[in-house]
Amino acid sequence: MPDTLTDSPMSTAASTAEPVLRVRNLSVSFPGRRGVLKALDDISFDLAPGEILGMVGESGAGKSMTGLAVQRLLEPPGHISGGEVHLLGQRIDQLPEAQMERLRGKQIGAVFQDPLTSLNPLFTVGHQISETIRVHLGGSRRAAMDQARELLRRVGIPSPDDRVNHYPHQFSGGMRQRVVIALALAAQPRLIIADEPTTALDVSIQAQIMSLLRRLCDETGVAMLLVTHDMGVIAQTADRIAVMYAGRLIELAPVHEVLRQPRHPYTRGLIGAIPALRKRAPRLTQIDGSMPRLDSIPQGCAFNPRCPEAGPRCRAHRPELSATPAGKVACWLNDGGVA
């Protein structure tokens, strides 16, 4: 079977270029009545130009939180409690809010699960896209409207000349998500954060949107953090996978490596749990139990109560990310270790 996606020239070029996004030891905390909850604990990763990093994990693992922290959109009292975020070489986790706001529209585009949260129902989509262009890039109204048409065409909206004059409710769900993508691209950002961009869409529409996002990253060199719970979407679109569990990054490697040889027992479980399309197995591999809540994260490796390979070391000490031939994994078994 062809495996061209992850071997595209873009991704090899990408690995040598200066990263668009550099996240180092990022932690996010929520102070509460019963103590401080750590929603993200010591996360580090880079994102190269044109690269798509797919972030997976169970509900509550911290995927969305990572995207929100990078954009500095955390709901108070949630806040970045440690680490650094660098965008295009500039440290942004401590920037004053006014500066951050400018950066958000200009350098970082956002695509969320529900397209209506990003669109204003009272304005035509042409108006919304062209205003974004004017605010961030300047230029005349007319030139901005021309660019809006061009963007709509680019994201695959038929008859963009008419469509610029339509309101969000006049589009179907899939078309609306295309409009949101056009809007996210309007100021020519270097980074897109897409949080479950296709979860609300049907599979045939999802496939269109994902191949659109892939094409845009290849063509424009924009980098993308793709948050999803769907391993299939990531297999189809991303260059690398970041697997999250209970607020920690536990595996990070190129997509084909992870699918071929997942190193973390949790990643193995996640992949095994997906029903196969080719043959019907009598039973699916299941991971027993469920992910711990933030206020009751087990000591040692957070996965140890569910891990079929856990040993005494796992219950006492927490494994940090360590190198594998192609990436990183946080497990005591890595590199012939003992659990």
Partner: protein, 330 residues
């Protein structure tokens, strides 16, 4: 095998018009939505038939018709007699395990309700014992009986719904997207549980999902729906190996496949049209790469094409030929 359920020419039309007064003032016509439009299928006893299709194609409406939550506009729904001579009745498991459980009741009472209502056990202590047994069957503990639904995770809540559905001792379960709200690791637990319950208690399933990989794992036969109709029905293996209807082929081409990721997706796959204004002729024609003039005018009937399959497509003879299958002489 004897069918547990036979459905014939089933339709359900919803009146989605504006209120009468507005219609008179604004001169708007009455608007009717054919959510289910003349479908027929059978579910063999002890088997699993799945309905798949994109959102809004009518899957949940079929589920609600079969379980009696909606009345049909037209057509018949007939359950056969079970081994005991009583008519088989269906219970339903819903997508959202939280919305379907009463938040103010303890788990014990939620599961006991059908037992009490149907008088399946004599007295409180027998009912208690049965609830404990059911909790064990779905992999929960007896202590969980005293808790409230909000104290459980999504997967555990779906186990509670299953225990409650089993409490009525049904032979037939209608499962409407039972794992769509769950993470894949938890989904695997629930699908494994449902398969083992089927073997243990000889249950029959009408299973509904938009996820083809889940459907493939669960079903013996699959019916693909599009805008209120069945466009193809076949046994699971044939459908996956040899999809005949162009819509089935589109669905199979677009599911993300972790075993063989394909970056290239057929570009012109279009969008599902509004069910309020379905296209004339074959409702799939605006998205169909095979459509010709006839498709724009004539509605294709669902036809038996041999090989144990039914297909609704004018050009099915060509599809059969292309797949190297003999056409059934009409």
């Amino acid at each position: 095998m004897k069918p547990a359920l036979v459905v014939r020419d089933l339709s359900r039309v919803f009146d989605v018009s504006a209120p009468l007064l507005n219609r008179l003032i604004e001169r708007k016509p009455r608007m009717l939505l054919r959510a289910v439009d003349g479908i027929s299928f059978e579910v063999p006893q002890g088997g699993c038939l799945s309905l798949v299709g994109e959102s809004g194609c009518g899957k949940s409406t079929v589920a609600r018709l079969v379980t009696g939550l909606y009345r049909p506009t037209d057509g018949q729904i007939e359950f056969s007699l079970g081994d005991s001579g009583d008519r088989i009745h269906a219970h339903m498991i819903f997508q959202d395990p939280y919305a379907s459980l009463n938040p103010r009741w303890r788990v014990r009472d939620i599961i006991a309700e059908p037992i009490r209502e149907l008088g399946l056990r004599d007295g409180e202590s027998a009912t208690r014992a049965r609830v404990d047994e059911l909790l064990g069957i779905v992999g929960l503990s007896q202590r969980d009986a005293e808790k409230f639904p909000h104290e459980f995770s999504g997967g555990q809540r779906q186990r509670i719904s299953i225990a409650r559905a089993l409490a009525g001792e049904p032979k037939f379960l209608v499962c409407d997207e039972p794992t769509s709200a769950l993470d894949v690791s938890v989904q695997a637990q629930i699908l494994n549980l449902m398969r083992s319950l089927q073997d243990e208690f000889g249950l029959t399933y009408l299973f509904i999902s938009h996820d083809l990989s889940v459907v493939r794992h669960m079903s013996d036969r699959i019916a693909v729906m599009y805008l209120g109709r069945i466009v193809e029905e076949a046994d699971t293996e044939s459908l996956f190996d040899n999809p005949l209807h162009p819509y089935t082929r589109l669905l199979l081409q677009t599911i993300p496949d972790i075993e063989a990721p394909r970056p290239d997706v057929p570009p012109a796959t279009g969008e599902v049209p509004s069910p309020l204004k379905p296209p004339p002729g074959c409702t799939f024609h605006p998205r169909c790469p095979e459509a010709d003039d006839r498709c724009k005018r004539e509605v294709p009937e669902v036809r038996d094409v041999g090989h144990g399959r039914r297909v609704a497509c004018h050009r099915v003879a060509e599809m059969l030929k292309r797949n190297g299958m003999s056409a059934l002489s009409a």
